[in-house]
């Protein structure tokens, strides 16, 4: 009787140990993207809701985010919109590729718009999904980006092209403004 009890107990321990390993397997896989986002955000710029203008990627200046595209000028904003709204405005190049993309805190992309959807200028309001902020009351729906998480990253891509003077592209890159709106 006692031997059967011991075997059962050891079996339960064994199953519990395997389950624990499985739980930590999935936990590690689930947490990895959040860790990556935090690590990149802290390495690139400790400030939130402010623009970071990157130079054209090179082997020397781009050793943080893998697979940089050397044909692009990038700008980014590490955002934190808990209980607030972030207004993002700027100019869009008229004859080369441009896009604004939003990534939630696990680095997955949930929004993208490109130059063909903008007419010279852009204006977006970034708010948390489900936000009932009065600041959004009179804003057209197409200008609101709802983020599934309170923090994340906005990434701008400007294609360096023969059709567009590089210095003009840099000026456009620097035309972007981010403003945290308070109620």
């Amino acid at each position: 009787m006692s031997t059967t009890k011991n075997i059962t107990r050891k079996g339960i321990y064994g199953v519990a140990v395997v389950l624990l390993a499985v739980v930590f397997y999935y936990l590690t896989i689930w947490v990895t993207p959040y860790y990556v986002q935090n690590k990149i955000a802290s390495q690139r710029s400790p400030d939130v809701n402010t623009l970071r203008f990157a130079k054209r990627p090179s082997p020397e200046n781009n050793r943080v985010v893998p697979l940089p595209n050397p044909d692009f000028l990038y700008s980014s904003i590490n955002y934190d919109i808990k209980d607030s709204v972030l207004k993002i405005t700027g100019k869009v190049p008229d004859s080369t590729y441009w896009s604004i993309a939003a990534y939630q805190s696990n680095t997955t992309n949930f929004f993208v718009a490109n130059d063909s959807q903008a007419d010279g200028n852009f204006e977006y309001y970034l708010a948390e999904e489900g936000s009932t902020s009065a600041l959004l009351k009179d804003i057209p729906k197409e200008k609101i980006i709802y983020s599934p998480t309170a923090s994340g990253l906005i990434l701008f891509r400007y294609l360096i092209s023969k059709a567009y003077p590089f210095n003009t592209l840099v000026d456009l890159q620097h035309s972007v403004k981010a403003e945290k709106l308070a109620e």
Binding site: Y25, L67, N109
Partner: protein, 197 residues
């Protein structure tokens, strides 16, 4: 001094818990590093996200791998990414050997082929050339096809340098591809990578 049975059991239990946690974390890290997942399709020697998948709705393992090795991609609506680390014969690309990448213009608003090192970063070189795109690749006489020389040694035309890298990864980016290209992306439409030396 001999440990009593109760203490022995506690030690064994603690070690089992630690081993289980280590095994769970270790196998997750290994899975992420393999860069193999159920969301990828193979087209010849090129890999891309599967037809019914995307970078933002893939399985947990794919999202973790993408976050580590290809951070901040755009969805397929905007861009199709293809990557490889092997030549068209399926052999791993050797940074010390010479290869010719032969392909044709893609029907996309912007396309490029970029070489990366073992960590996914650009390869330092004297001519500061890391990729070729629709604008700067030198086309053949038919104005449609091109040959890119992937080599550690300087080439006269379309040279994509590899010296100094331990491993090579190539990435094709197709921004705003035509519907025809999007729906008919096959082995024939992708560049061939042949070892020549």
């Amino acid at each position: 001094m001999a440990l009593n049975t109760k203490t022995q059991k506690r030690i064994i239990l603690s070690l089992s818990v630690i081993a289980a946690i280590a095994a769970g974390i270790g196998s997750a890290v290994y899975s992420i590093r393999t860069w193999k997942n159920s969301s990828q399709d193979n087209i010849g020697n090129w890999q891309t996200i599967g037809k019914d998948k995307d970078v933002n709705n893939a399985d947990l393992l794919s999202i973790a791998q993408i976050s580590v090795y290809a951070t901040y991609p755009l969805t397929k609506k905007e861009v199709i990414y293809l990557n490889t680390s092997t030549d068209s014969d399926g052999n791993v690309i050797d940074p010390k050997s010479d290869y010719v990448i032969s392909g044709k213009k893609f029907d996309a608003r912007y396309w490029s082929i970029t070489a990366y090192d073992q960590d996914g970063f650009l390869i330092k070189n004297p001519v500061e050339k890391y990729s070729y795109n629709f604008e700067d690749v030198k086309y053949e006489k038919d104005s449609t096809s091109y040959k890119i020389n992937l080599s550690a040694v300087k080439k006269d035309s379309n040279w994509l340098p590899t010296a100094g890298a331990q491993k090579i990864g190539l990435v094709i980016r197709l921004y705003q591809p035509s519907d025809e290209l999007r729906n008919n992306l096959n082995k024939e439409s992708l560049p061939i990578i042949q070892k020549v030396k």
